[in-house]
Amino acid sequence: MTTMPLLQIDNLSVTMMPPGAAPVPILSDVSLTLDKGATLGIVGESGSGKSMLSLAIMGLLPPTARAAGTIALNGRQLLTLPESAWCRIRGRRIGMIFQEPMTALNPAMRIGDQIAEGIIWHRGVARAVARRAAIDLLDQVRIPDAKRRAASYPHEMSGGQRQRVGIAIALALQPDLMIADEPTTALDVTVQAEILDILDELVRERGMALIIISHDLGVIARAAHRTIVMYAGTGMEAGPTVALLRDPRHPYTTGLLAAMPRRRPGVGSGPGSRLATIPGTVPGFADMPAGCRFAGRCARQTGACREATPAWRLFGSDGGRGVRCLHAQLDAAEPDRPEPDRVMPL
């Protein structure tokens, strides 16, 4: 049985070719698949290339970027498409939600009209029909009193409401795939929870696929079925979110989980208790170390790590997990492994 995944990326590499300077690799050898109705989390720190990955999927790479590998949406190769074909795919097949919705909204236009505009543009329906559809959409993203609010301008709304409008605009064209780049980073936690609820519901009820990009492991845990951990422009580990967080195999994933400041019921913060840290900092794209990109910060590195980039190895019962580490154990996950203790009492 082979059902085609909605999105399949194989060995994607993106290299910047600045005029008159050496090429700079941003993404190397990224592979992932995403099925209809599923949510994929892309998590990484700054400099991990996660935003470049989303731009590549949207076909919005800067002109100086060169991409290699394949990106297939419903089996159709995207990287080789001309710009005119891209325009049809963006919006209609792929929707995008931004971190700060204010930058994506036209400040001088009522929000109802902004949503309707896209519907008219792409579906060619009458204005009145589009207006009604816009109000429906506002209702779906749980803007109360949608009919009246459709006449508001963006500045009259709170950050959370603007983000809902951003979602409604992306939804208007009924895309197969929605990409949300740090959709809740600018929002308060209580509002964040509401936005994540809305995204959940859309995935569940519309069968839409969602890619959620975040630096926050908590958001990823909350929202994503599958997760890929990116570091320095490449995937380090991927798998079902539960398995990945409960039983991480890559030292970087383990380190990130340990370094996350968390509430720890029952643990005192008395003198001496410290968070686990990952020493050093993320390498810049222009001076990437040879071999494994995490080697310089890794406690488990050996000479072999410096020699060649570790291959992406699949494991797990159905090959559902992948890891890029020479030292990672690839045996089956222990079923009921207790949550690792994140506090390192000294």
């Binding site: 910047m16 600045p18 005029p19 008159g20 300077a21 050496a22 700079v24 720190e45 700054s46 400099g47 935003s51 470049m52 731009l55 800067p62 100086t64 740090e182 980073t185 630096h215 050093g280 900092t281 993320v282 390498p283 810049g284 794209f285 222009a286 001076d287």
Partner: protein
Amino acid sequence: MPRSAALSEPAAGRAADRAGHRAPASRVWLRHPPLALGALITVALAAIALLSLVWTPVSPARMQIAFRLQAPLARGLLGTDQFGRDVLSMLMAGAWNSLSIAASAVAIGTAIGTLAGVAGAARRGLIEAALMRGCDVLFAVPPILSAMMLDAFLGPGRRGAIVAIAVFMVPVFARVTGSAARQIWARDYILAARGAGKGATLITIEHVLPNIANPIIVQVAIQLGLAILTEAGLSFLGLGMPPPTPTWGRMLADAQTYLGVAPWLAIVPGCAIVVTVLGFNLLGDGLRDLLDPRAGGRRGLSLPALEPPQTPDRGAP
């Protein structure tokens, strides 16, 4: 610490803050041809103007009626005017007059305007509002009108022209520095300086002025071009320097009568003005690109807004 190529650019918004650490000078000229051209024109003009103080081919005031209205190359490089004066010599002397008046006016305008701008930004509220409304009033007075009034007041001459143009420059600089300084005042490092017990004057000197130097420098270059134009306009109307001092504006005005028989009399000073203004504008635009990568986008590859404000490490100590 060697900065590794262009990719170490952080988010573009920060880039403006990081002037002062640039590529080697030789590469700057190659990467910014307009800047190089603008600088070349400016330096050449300044050299010609200075040279005219000690040497011109003929004394610009010497009239030789016998050789009046000679075409270029017939007598002297650029011919003679209706009194038989050497056009090249007048042009050189005029360069000094135009440039010195423009430079003095812009210097005065920059000094007073910048002072008003940073003072307004440092002392918000009533003082700022008063300064800015004052600027609005100055803006509303056309420079020609104020020059005519000042001419009547100060008598015709260099001083009147300088003051008239400077009056027109002050609000420009007050606005530019005022808005730039207000942005700097909103930064956290200003709060840190206040937390260190520093007063408004000290903060302005230590933090605000160094950080708004770039827009001021750019504005100076652009306003120099404008000042040249204004000066030419004033002397065209017979305001500013009195005859027989040669100025480009008066050369143009005098040439009108002979446009049919001696078109070079108008073309030569006209070209001089165009080239000078063009030079200053190129210089200004080039400096803006050089000092503010956001506008130019020519400094190699940048990765604006791809990642949150944090930057990948660039190797620190």
